[in-house]
Symmetry: C2
Subunit: 219 residues, 2 copies
DNA sequence: ACTCCTTTGTTGTAAAAACAACCGACTTGT
DNA sequence: ACAAGTCGGTTGTTTTTACAACAAAGGAGT
């Protein structure tokens, strides 16, 4: 676990907490490290969990398959990001999504109740971690709202422009890369891939944008 | 403010905190009560805020109008519910939505940083409020995920069935009421009202469900 | 009771998306 | 080098949705 402290130090959860304090808290919080191979399920829809997790290696997809097999990518989890914090609550019910390793991955599990209960022993930085946790889930909340913002657009074109312009804004440049393949982007926006591909090319032909693979330029 | 303590006591935020403790915390947290008339804006898209709010009277709509005037109801806030907790974070940027009073309403404003910073003075229940706050935002997070679940369905019919069946499950009965008018439901699901109305009637004619106003029965 | 306004349902048309099938370019593994 | 698989783009058809316009029912206020 120690080799991941450098990564943990740069996560939202441990932002502002020193190496030695993190090390101490890993014990205090009874953290556990588990590894997964590409394609493995970290969590399955319907499961109940008591942990929040931090990804320290690899890449995870949070996704949902409906009755008819349509796959919806709810989120992508990259190194240093968290998952599960929304599901550990009294009567929270069960997980709404699958979490799958898109690459070989390593995940650290924390008992949330231990995090939220300020321990009587020394953990000086415990309350800072609580604040970090709050800000993190708060941010995830905003991301969901933004995704809804994209999805709420009525046409595929409007969905694409909503997503792409926001991504450009986020990366602070009209030239930017997206973290999706075409199929994943279509899943993220909940539209048909071929129709979306078609629409992208139309917009390119109309001079609205340029792209190659996952690199885009808004004009 | 005191007349609303009974309401505050039953909110998620103050769950498990006694009247007298709430009263003390209202001072400690420097809470402020503001009233609004039907149609008033509590917050506007683009604003930056330092407060979380609890609705103690009336009803609020969290909504988003796009470029072309399509209105999307992101959420309905009822008495005892909270708003704003997702937007008070370092570098959180500005509000993504408007918050509007659907009825004459009263709202209590709390400074979040005061909540998250455990005060040196006595507030015994402060840490319980922190936990409550966490669970609350966690739950809001899940609701957003559920909404995305409905919206991700490709057809209007599938969106309706997804929403209605969940609502039936939530109210634990095949006979249930929804908190929306048709237009609001259409906005919530991001579809055209008339097309949705049409689809509802088709489903009724096919014997899938029955409805009158906002009362529904799934068959 | 009357008017105004909101809500809901209905219909037809035009536009858009889903769907299916296919191709070519690239990767990956053997 | 070859085969199998993935990825992105293209096209044509079918289905669905949005849109517009209108009618009927119900409520609120005068």
């Amino acid at each position: 676990m120690k080799k991941y402290i450098e990564i943990l130090k740069r996560t939202q959860l441990f932002s502002g907490v020193s190496d030695t304090e993190i090390s101490a808290m890993l014990n205090c919080l009874q953290a556990k490290l588990l590894t997964f191979q590409k394609g493995d399920y970290i969590f399955r829809e319907g499961e109940r969990i008591d942990n929040i997790t931090v990804l320290v290696k690899g890449k995870l997809l949070v996704q949902h398959d409906d009755f008819w097999g349509n796959r919806n990518i709810v989120n992508v989890i990259r190194i240093g990001e968290m998952f599960g914090e929304a599901y550990v609550a009294p009567e929270s019910g069960s997980l709404l999504n699958d979490v799958i390793a898109e690459e070989d991955s390593a995940v650290i599990f924390f008992d949330v109740r231990r995090i939220l209960t300020v321990c009587s022993t020394a953990c000086r930085f415990h309350s800072m971690v609580i604040q970090n946790l709050f800000f993190a889930i708060s941010e995830k909340n905003r991301k969901l709202v933004q995704k809804i913002g994209h999805m709420s657009k009525r046409s595929t074109r409007a969905k694409l422009l909503s997503y792409l312009s926001e991504e450009a804004k986020r990366q602070n440049s009209s030239h930017f890369t997206i973290p999706f393949t075409r199929q994943q982007l279509a899943d993220f926006l909940c539209v048909d891939r071929s129709a979306m591909s078609n629409e992208l090319c139309k917009m390119r032909d109309e001079g609205l944008l340029q792209f190659a693979k996952n690199q885009f330029i808004l004009l």
